[in-house]
Each structure stands twice: as C-alpha cells, then as structure tokens.
C-alpha cells in the first residue's frame, strides 16, 4: 500500500489510481469466486471426468478408474442397436412433441390475449401443470391410462370403443408419453407467447381493424410476424428440453422403458448402463455422445437465431 501511495501523489488526479484498481480486482475475483468454485466442481469437473472415464472400464462397484480401454466403449456404443434405438426415441419424441408444443400454446395465447377479463383462469388451467413435479404428473397419468379403471378408457368404453393399451402397446407407449408431456409443459410456452403478444403494439391491430382486416388476417399478418423472435426462442428451448427427456418416461414406464424398450429414451439408456449395470465408463461414453448432440443442436439454433435477427 505504501509503495503504491508514493507514485500516486506524483501523478495527475485523473489517471486511474493503481491501489484502487488492485483492490477492485481483488474484490471482483472474490465476488465471482463462490460461484466459480461450485461451477468448476459440479459442471466442469464432471465433464472432464466423463471424458477420462469414457476411456476406461470404470465400474460403479470398484473404486478407481479401472483399466484403460481406449475407444472401446465408443466402439461398443456405436455398434449397439439399443443405443441407436434409444437415441431415435429421443429424436422421435422431440419431432412429434415440438410442433404441438409450439402451435397449441400459440393458438391458445392468440385466443386468450385479447379477452378483457378471465385471463387468470387460462393461466391457471394451462400453467398449473407446468409447475408440478414429474412424479405427480406420472402418478396422475399412470392412473388416467389405467386399462380397467382409468378415466380415458372409461370414456372410450362409454362410447363403445376398446382400450388401446396406452402403456402396454409397443407402438403407442411413446405417444402416450408425448400426450402427457404436451399437457404438462404447454403452460411455459403459453406464458411466453402471451408476454410476446402483450409487447406487440395495440394501434397496429386497431389500424388493421379499421381497414376491415378480419380476425384471421390480423393473426396472420400482424401477430405471427410480430412473434417471430418468440417463436424461434420457444422452438429452441423446446428442442433442447425434449432431448433431455427422462423423468416422465422413466416414471410412467416404471423404469422399464416401456414394453420391449419401445419407449426407452437416450438418458434412460445412460441410466440403465451407467447405474443399473454399473458400467460407469461405458455410461460416460454414452453421456458424452448425448452431451455433444445437445450442444451441437444448441449452437446450430443459436447461429440460426443470430442470422434471423440480422436479417430482420
């Protein structure tokens, strides 16, 4: 401190004072340190560990890394049909659910946003399921889908229709989970769209109305273009969230991945091999593949958003 004080007197007042700066630097580092330590320990270290362990035959029940196996884990992974099947289920789930999870909440938001009262009711109905834990969702829907006393089959029975086997059919199970997920998560996108709609200027609609534009024309020509950014954002968040699907599949199929693994998704495959079979090394390799896929898609979307924003 005292050495720093000497040159200070000799310098013009406007110059940055070194002692201040150094104290500021220390404070800055101190302010980010608690977060950075946790960040390094629980996000970066696992990533590094995954890379290392994926090259070893690390086991859950044996301490240490095990023996070095090179790229053998990856070789086995890429030649395992079950792995590709699980990856495909994740992709299929994403492809089927995303359009619904964009179009439905968008339509709901458009229908609701110009109502003068009662908007709280729609927010309650559509958003409430979103904040419930996956286990509650799974409890409710396992019973909804119950073949004998479930509400859905009860209704089908009333109309003289047979039970489709929501959770017992190899073709239907994944789609039954898509239905659950749409019901569960639609509220988040709904709220995003309603917020986006509120940002769009009212006078635009008034002008269009005066010019005799129909409701649908207003939606098509004003609402949807104005919401361009929000729609892209919702799509990005939705795709990334869908790729990480695990909870509802695991819970509703009670850990079995559906009949004959017909609904097992990527993260569930990782769980089955990394934990249930105790093959941490192999599970790490599978984790990294999923990790890279999610990262690549995230960045691709980001690049797309950037380009779209520049274009507008």
């Amino acid at each position: 401190m005292s050495t720093a004080a000497l040159p200070r007197t000799a310098r013009p007042v406007s110059r940055p004072r070194p002692d201040r700066l150094r104290a500021g630097e220390l404070a800055g580092a101190g302010f980010v340190a608690p977060f950075l330590v946790l960040y390094a320990l629980f996000l970066i270290l696992p990533l590094v560990l995954a890379v290392i362990m994926s090259l070893f035959n690390t086991s859950l029940v044996i301490p240490g890394l095990g023996t070095f196996v090179g790229l053998k884990n990856y070789g086995e992974l890429f030649s395992d049909d079950y792995f590709w099947q699980a990856m495909w289920h994740t992709v299929l789930f994403t492809l089927v659910s995303t359009p619904f999870l964009i179009v439905l909440p968008l339509l709901f938001a458009i229908a609701v946003h110009r109502l003068s009262h009662g908007r709280w009711f729609f927010r309650l109905a559509f958003f409430l399921p979103y904040i419930l834990p996956s286990a509650v969702i799974a409890l409710i829907w396992t019973f909804m889908y119950e073949p004998a006393y479930g509400l859905l089959d009860g209704i089908l029975h009333f109309f003289g229709l047979g039970a489709p086997g929501w959770l017992s059919s190899t073709t239907l199970t994944l789609y039954s989970i898509v239905i659950v997920t749409i019901w569960w998560t639609i509220g988040f996108n709904f709220v995003l769209f309603v917020a986006g709609l509120q940002d769009s200027p009212r006078d635009l609609y008034e002008a269009a109305e005066l010019d005799g534009a129909s409701w649908w024309a207003q939606v098509r020509r004003i609402t949807i273009p104005m919401l361009g950014r929000t729609i892209t954002l919702v799509a990005v968040l939705q795709v990334i969230a869908s790729l990480k699907i695990f909870d509802q599949v695991y819970l509703i199929t009670q850990g079995g991945g559906g009949p004959n693994f017909s609904a097992r998704v990527a993260l569930e495959y990782i769980y089955d091999y990394g934990f249930t079979s105790g093959r941490v090394g192999y599970g790490s390799a599978a984790s990294l593949v999923l990790f890279v896929v999610i990262l690549v898609i995230s960045f691709a979307w980001l690049a797309l958003v950037r380009r779209q924003e520049k274009g507008v």
């Binding site: 690390t58 409430l128 904040i131 929000t230 919702v234 819970l251």
Partner: protein, 296 residues
Amino acid sequence: MSSHAAETPSRPAAPKARDRQLVQRPDVLFRRCVTGVVIALALLWLVPVAWALDTSLKAEPDTIKIPVSWAIPHLTLSAYSLDFSATDIGRWYINSAIVAVIVTVLTVFTASMAGYALSRQRFRGKPLVYAAILAGIMIPPQALMVPLFREFQSVHLINTYWALILPQVPAPIAVFIFKKFFDGQPIELDQAARVDGASWWTCYRRIGLPLARSAVSAVAIFTFVWTWNNFLWPFLSATNQNMMTIPVGLGTVISGTGIINALQMASAVLGALPLVMVFLLGQRQIVEGVAGTGLK
C-alpha cells in the same frame, strides 16, 4: 375514420366504442367461437388434476368401480391418513423443504454476487469468466449425471444433504440474469458510494441487492420450484428412504404401492399442494419471470 383515430390517440374511450360498433361484423361470431373453444380446452386441461383430487377423496373400493364415475359415494380422507402412515411422505416434505430453501438462498447469493461483479467491477480474466458462464448455460447437467455420481461416490457423500444441495447451486443462467439486470441499472449510485469510500461489499449489499429485488424474487421463485421438482439428480443421489425428496419418494409410490389408487392420487395431491400454493402466491412473479427470462 383513420384520420379521426390519429387525432385522438390519447383518449382511452375511443377503442372501446369502436369495439361495440364491430359487433355487427361477421368475424365477431368467429371470435366468439374461438373463445368458446379455448374455454372448453382450458376446462379439459384441468380434468386430470380434478380427477386425481376426486379419486383421492374416494374410499378405495369406489376407485375400482366400472363404469368409472366422478361421483364420490363415501367422502373420506382415509387415503391421506394412510399416505402419512404407510409412506415416509412427512420426511420427504422436510427433506424437500431443506434442500429447496438452502439451494435457493445459495443460488441467489452466489449468482447475484457474480452478476454484480461482472456488471460493475473490473478484474483480470473477467471476459474469460463471462464467456465461461455463457458457455455454461449450454451445458446440459442431466447428461453429466454418471460422472457427477462418481464424483460424490468417491468422496462418500451419496445420501447426504451435501450431495442433494451443492450440485444444484451453480446455475449460469441465474448469473446471466443478474448481470443483465445490473447492466440495466444506473451506475452513478455505486460510483458515488465508491467515491465516498464504501467497499464493493457495501455497494453490493446496500445498493445493488435492494435495487435488484425483482430479479432476486424471480430467480428465487424459479430456483425454488425447479429444485423442489428436480427428479433425476436427487433420484440418483438419495437412495435411502430417509434422504428422499418429494419427487423421488413419490416415484417409489408409483411402483411400490401399485394397487391402492386412492393412496396414489392422495400422494399426487399432497405432492402438488406446496407448488399450487407457491403458484397462487407468486403467480405474478412466476409469469413475469418466464416472460422476462425468455425474451432476453
């Protein structure tokens, strides 16, 4: 007409009067139909939750009657009392509350400090730290569960609060939200305080945090709900009944007591209850939080 609207842009009564004129227009009927459909869909959306509540209040034999019915012949809370005696749900509530509260406090604290430093202070390596945090938003923690489990297993902390709490604290998105928030606040107050000799810590405590109240409440509510609901990590790290949180414990109820429908639905209602309360109390912050976070 349009010139008239341009002349009176500030009069709020004008658009309302115009709306009334529009009643004659043909697409008003269409608009009414749209409203009707969306009301029907909203009611439909409430059916699963209502059905769970309905079933939870039935006596068990009435839940397996065919045809299924909404009628409750014998209204009873026995499924709820059975839930508390047959499962450890009381313990799971306590665990969930401990974990969610501590994670929320630590997240708000560490993330707001980091966000404050990134917005206000100059220090070496700051661009690198910021880049690391932006990149961190992209990291899907769910895909790193296997190595994270190994990490905790090797230091023998599986089935402890340490394992349940610590990995849930670092949320790069929260730092980003706070940084953006502080960027939008005037810097003059901090500068004046600094000139008066206040430490950075005082500036953060006395000026930064109080100003950031809306960001704090949004991050806090989201962290709380997210942590309370988080399934995958607690499911892996708490295998002991005594350490389970509500979602993990309820997960065992799905397959465990498989045949007692009323008990399962009572569990679902009990699991939903705290969140419904948080939702009703913090509805405005939650909705604004979703909108604000998403649109940035």
